[in-house]
Amino acid sequence: MVDLLFFGIFAAIAVLCAINVVLQKHPISSALSLVGVMGSLAVLYLMLGGVFIAMAQIIVYAGAVMVLFVFVIMLLNAGIEVRRGRSWMATIFGVPALLGLLGVLACLLARWFPDAPTIKFGDFTGGGAKEVGYALFTEYLLPFEVTSVLILIAILGAVVLARKELD
């Protein structure tokens, strides 16, 4: 009962903030709404037993990535977005097509998991830092090391792209 209440509260916050991300005209409002989505998703991860992932979500996403976004928005002095006329196709078919996509996703999920169980808080305790770290450094060691190369390349790419002279 308490689980359902918490899920309802944070799912509602997540959906409302996500809609706000799309509807706000100013990018900084979108960015702050996105922080709301990420925070409520972190709570849902905690309810699903992902302690480590919830903390990483807060630190990496809501912290680092969104600070980067807000920094760039401030740096570029991004204003309210200019609306132009959009094509009649988008106006007529846009929202129905999206609802169709949602319907397809929901249908597939219902088809694949007809007897989906209920999830109680505390069923699954294998998501702590110890378990995640153990899996990461034994079974998933190679992907983990490749990730470090990816990060290195991303850093180099960002530095090269954002250099002062670009000829």
């Binding site: 899920f7 799912a11 037993g49 996403y61 792209l161």
Partner: protein, 106 residues
């Protein structure tokens, strides 16, 4: 009226994930500001992460969490490179509107 279940049905989590993903797609398609489009991509990644964590709970395995971790890492790298690209685009064209960045069109 059916009895209120003890705990949250797994389909609720998956449904929330689907809803967030579709909202992200909507923003990606309808918004014209390049930074907001980028934020909608992050929203879609987050929606998929929620599915991963839900399935990790369902299968009682930690692999889903590892995958979520990798998605986060890739998203951070993507944000760094993408925002550098946005900076370069703005420097060269002084616009953030994706309708005006169309030099590869035609």
């Amino acid at each position: 009226m059916p009895p209120i279940p003890d705990g949250v049905p797994m389909s609720f989590y998956l449904g929330l994930s689907a809803i967030l993903f579709v909202i992200g797609v909507a923003g990606f398609v309808f918004r014209r500001n390049i930074i907001t489009v980028f934020m909608c991509i992050e929203l879609m990644l987050n929606a998929v992460n929620l599915s991963f964590v839900t399935f990790a709970n369902y299968h009682k395995q930690v692999s889903g969490h590892i995958f979520t971790f990798f998605v986060m890492v890739v998203a951070a790298a993507e944000a760094a490179v993408g925002l550098a690209i946005i900076l370069t685009v703005f420097k060269n064209r002084t616009t953030l509107n994706i309708d005006e960045v169309d030099s590869l069109k035609n």
